[in-house]
Amino acid sequence: MQLVQVIDTKSNNLSNVLRALDRCDVKYQVIQFANELVKGSLVVLPGVGAFGSCLNELQVNGFCEHLVTHLAAGGKLLGICVGMQALARSSTEFGFHTGLSLIDAEVTRLANSESAPIIVPNVNWLPLDNVSDRFKPFAGKAMYFVHSYFMTNFRDPHQCAAIVKYSGIDIPAIIDSGNIIGFQFHPEKSGEDGLRILRHSIDLLRGI
């Protein structure tokens, strides 16, 4: 069985993600530094808070450099919330930041214009829409979102495996590029459906 390694990015949701994995009967180890990566492992990247501080944590501990080679050598990656956004090319949260560039897309703020006022942050349970075949069992299931930034401008729009609709914006909710899956929502806080989609994604990445 493919080893699961959870990166400790000093994120507040780490313990919640670990509890959810326990509940899904997924065994894992927590790692802090890139030199702990085991070839071919399934890496989970949780994240809450600001993009810049998440990337900084990854940079300092060597992950920015090593995750790319890890994936090229058969590794897998599951990003959650900011951990998904970190996969993008860049973000404009608190200044311009370069991301891991594993997904060719950008992270930008949920716009609040005069013509279309939006309540930000988006703190809501939203049903998954435009769901890809790999995530079909979760079409229409509501997941818990809390964020002010979202991923957009995909070079390959097919990498977006589900969206949610919020104030006229299509927010990518799941990204899927085969060996990488990302959730904008918090599966660890989305009730029983959240636990199921977490387990489902780990099975998908493991090729089960």
């Binding site: 507040n12 919640n16 959810a20 309540i119 049903p127 809390v146 918090h186 806080k189 989305s190 009730g191």
Partner: protein, 253 residues
């Protein structure tokens, strides 16, 4: 209002180790073990749990740690925890145990820059500004320490000021309506809604199903907090959500 998103939050006021319920945040009655109530609401499909330590500010202590630690083992939805959080370290400790957000009132009224200190580390989405107010001749005055202490602050001035320091949501409690079942204070909700673009959680006064509709029809009110109507099983979460659905709201069922 068609298709507006609405969340239903269970509010559990705690005087450790018990769930309590009062009127106007006072006159406390012991109801039982909070985790059992919270788990029941989780299985009923509630969207979030709010634990509020009702005596923490008074006694300068924080007693919800063990309750929170136990609760997050079984309940996989967002938790907001408030009462007695006085510093960045207090907030970090609560979040680390598994809460998603901290609700701040007394400590940030005393020192508003604490909001900036906490949000810089946790992100603004992890901070709920808890505002307890009582109606005055002109507007509403902000109270602290569970509605016991006056501050002289006007609610609109205070919320506007706090918004600039980094908050994700506003929990707006009408002390006048709290525990009275006479409906949310719609004037208060409308007044604050006009002055911020943040999500507002209406709290205090839920008596019947139409109170939920009325509160959620206010522009920036995206959630309602319900306490004794759930605790005394006058309504189930499903009943409230189905009623909202029938009135055009988008809810998670």
């Amino acid at each position: 209002m068609n298709g507006k998103l609405a969340r239903v939050i269970a509010r559990l006021d705690i005087k450790a180790p018990n769930l309590i319920k009062g009127i106007h945040l006072e006159g406390l009655r012991v109801l039982g073990e909070p985790k059992k109530f919270a788990f029941d609401y989780y299985t009923q499909g509630v969207d979030e749990i709010l634990y509020m330590d009702s005596v923490a500010s008074l006694y300068q202590r924080n007693s919800l740690h063990s309750l929170l630690r136990d609760s997050v083992e079984e309940i996989f939805i967002p938790f907001t925890v408030g009462g007695g959080i006085r510093s960045l370290d207090d907030a970090k400790a609560i979040l680390k145990l598994g809460a998603d957000k901290v609700a701040l009132n007394t400590a940030v009224v005393k020192n508003v820059t604490l909001l900036k200190d906490i949000s810089a580390v946790t992100g603004a989405q992890a901070i709920v500004l808890s505002v307890e107010c009582k109606k005055q001749t002109n507007g509403w005055e902000v109270y602290t320490d569970c509605g016991r202490e006056r501050t002289g602050l006007d609610v609109v001035d205070w919320v506007r000021n706090a918004q600039q320091h980094g908050i994700g949501e506003v929990l707006l409690t009408s002390v006048d309506r709290e525990g009275t079942r006479s409906g949310y204070d719609l004037d208060l909700l409308n007044t604050v809604s006009e002055s911020v673009t943040l999500p507002i959680i209406a709290s205090g006064g839920f008596g019947g199903l139409n109170d939920a509709v009325d509160a959620l029809n206010v522009k920036n009110v995206t959630a309602i907090a319900i306490a004794d109507a759930l605790h005394y099983k006058r309504f189930s979460v499903g009943q409230i959500k189905r009623h909202l659905l029938e009135h055009g709201f988008q809810v998670r069922l």
